[in-house]
């Protein structure tokens, strides 16, 4: 909207109040509890599927399966929760009562984002801790049964697993920002959810664009593909699971670069969502 800077400064405190309310709403909704239970159940069930390890080592299978469950349910939760928590404000007209108060739309949008981000943070923390517990328990059993297989001590990098959880959280943050951007101009919840899933697929297939532009001879086309590569965040950069279990461990420089990559995209996409929402007539 056409708000100017007169009188009411931007307030981080108001932003946190909106975030807190969004978090409470999400936690009290059944969808969050359902997805959390499902994810926890699936992560926990990884140890029962160890016979189907397709040639991988058992610990790596548990790790991959657990992280896969986290990514799948985390993505679903991120898109569903962000769209639902935004549109419940519009459809129930609670946005009217909030925005009729002395509050900036920027505070409202980033408050919604932070609330959802906190919800996803809880989800990632719980599933990561559960996965670490399962891996540790199984690794202890295997070390007791086959000490020769562990000549250099533990195979799993538990610290890196936690870092991996944080990186997934940041990736979901980028996805939440994308969903919020779509919601800021969309008229329906369904459209937002469908478009966000499309975006999720595009962002996961981003590496194809990178491969493509390297092989395209035409300069304008190469530049176009390269530009599209910047427009859509590349979710493959968050895929560091191979280094966590039985791998060489995570490189601190790579982790910082990936985290910075996510934060830049969150800031830019969040800014676009604010711009779009400021022009929206409620």
């Amino acid at each position: 909207m056409n708000a100017t800077t007169g009188g009411v400064p931007f307030s981080f405190s108001r932003l946190l109040i909106v975030a807190g309310n969004t978090f409470t709403e999400a936690v009290r909704q059944k969808l969050f509890n359902f997805l959390l239970l499902l994810a926890v159940g699936l992560v926990a069930s990884a140890q029962f599927f160890r016979e189907f390890n397709f040639g991988s080592s058992e610990l790596k299978f548990i790790s991959d399966f657990g992280l896969g469950a986290m990514v799948f349910f985390g993505s679903t939760l991120t898109i569903a929760a962000t769209a639902q928590l935004f549109f419940s404000e519009i459809e129930n007209r609670t946005a009217l009562t909030i925005l009729a108060k002395p509050i900036w739309r920027t505070e409202f949008i980033f408050g919604k984002f932070l609330g959802v981000f906190a919800v996803i943070g809880v989800f990632c923390a719980l599933t990561t801790l559960l996965l670490a517990g399962l891996l540790c328990s199984r690794e202890n059993s295997l070390m007791a049964l086959h000490p020769d297989a562990f000549p250099n001590g533990r195979l799993i990098h538990y610290g890196d697993l936690m870092v991996m959880g944080v990186l997934q959280w940041l990736k979901f943050g980028v996805l939440a920002a994308i969903t919020l951007l779509i919601a800021s101009f969309s008229n329906t919840n369904l459209y937002t959810v469908v478009m966000s899933f499309f975006m999720l697929v595009i962002c996961h297939l981003q590496y194809l664009a990178h491969d493509a532009y390297a092989q395209v001879a035409s300069l304008p086309l190469r530049l176009l593909v390269r530009m599209l590569g910047y427009v859509f965040p590349n979710f493959q950069v968050f895929n560091l699971a191979d280094q966590v279990a039985i791998g060489s461990g995570l490189d601190a420089g790579v982790v910082l670069r990936v985290a910075g990559y996510a934060l830049v995209y969150i800031a830019v996409i969040g800014g676009l969502a604010v711009y779009s929402f400021r022009n929206r007539e409620i």
Partner: protein, 291 residues
């Protein structure tokens, strides 16, 4: 002080609002060249049939919509600015609040958004909930509230930061006559406190009871504005209410009046208003909203 001399709470000048209907540039004109002033300390009724532009006007006052042409100021501040809403409380039509919060949590949330100081927060929330008569249901989840209770908790959130201007969009829509009468009482209490109230309602009897001044919109245009007493009062006539008279006494009275150049235009039995009869017979809700 006459209305013209009072400082203005709302000042609308030549306001037009168009909504684009499609990409070919077809527009719907919701409000057309509206000029309106609401003096401070008055209860102002904005009337009109559905689709007349009342809600659009209110949204522009609240900065939720931007005018296509013209300007709107609240206490002298352009309505698009965030600080124009510092002294405004708003109850939307058919309010729907966060169902999972209790009444206290809900009002507390809005109070914090409005910047009510933390040390005054609990006291102010309790005070305003008590004022709207919901103290008995304050700890219940809003999802369990009746329509009348939702209106009252809506009023509480609108008043929690002690605004000078309160905007009530159809505050009695879907509320039973008892609840409606209670809301009217609350509006009159606000007026007694010196607050400015802008109210829209389809219940014209209620508007007549509580408003000092009204404006009527039709298809986005202002068609009538003035003080209620001036608009509906018949200054050239008087009504006398007396004990029942026999036909002979009535004839005598007619003759007496005719001798003095007056006519007895109507003889009818005064009637109580049905809503007043209803309110006097049914029990009122207690503080918890239960009948």
């Amino acid at each position: 002080m006459t209305p013209a001399a009072l400082p203005l709470a709302i000042e609308i000048k030549n306001l037009t609002k168009d909504f684009p209907l499609n990409l070919r540039g077809v527009k719907l004109r919701a409000v057309e060249n509206l000029t309106l002033s609401v003096p401070e300390g008055r209860v102002f009724g904005l009337l009109g049939p559905n689709g007349s532009g009342k809600s659009t006007t209110i949204k522009i006052i609240l900065g939720l919509l931007e005018p296509t042409v013209g300007e709107c100021k609240v206490f002298g501040v352009p309505s698009g600015r965030v600080d124009s809403r510092l002294n405004v409380g708003y109850l939307p039509e058919a309010p729907y609040f966060y169902r999972y919060l209790s009444g206290t949590e809900l009002v507390c949330f809005y109070a914090r958004i409005c910047g009510v100081p933390r040390k005054r927060l609990d006291e102010r929330v309790r005070e305003v909930i008590d004022w709207v008569g919901l103290s008995g249901a304050a700890q219940r989840r809003v999802g369990t509230y009746s329509k009348g209770m939702l209106q009252r908790i809506g009023l509480a959130q609108a008043l929690v930061h002690d605004p000078r201007l309160i905007i009530l969009d159809e505050p009695t829509a879907g509320v039973d006559p008892v609840g409606s009468a209670e809301i009217s009482e609350l509006i009159l209490k606000l007026k007694a406190q010196g607050k400015t109230v802008l109210i829209t309602s389809h219940l014209l009897a209620q508007i007549e009871d509580v408003c000092d001044r009204v404006a009527i919109l039709d298809r986005g245009k202002l068609i009538l504005e003035g003080d209620v007493n001036e608009l509906v009062g018949q200054r050239d006539r008087q009504a006398l209410i007396v004990d029942p008279l026999s036909p002979e006494q009535l004839d005598e009275l007619r003759g007496w009046l005719a001798a003095r150049g007056h006519a007895l235009n109507a003889v009818e039995q005064p009637r109580a208003r049905l809503d007043q009869l209803f309110i006097s017979r049914v029990s009122r809700p207690d503080k918890g909203g239960q009948k």
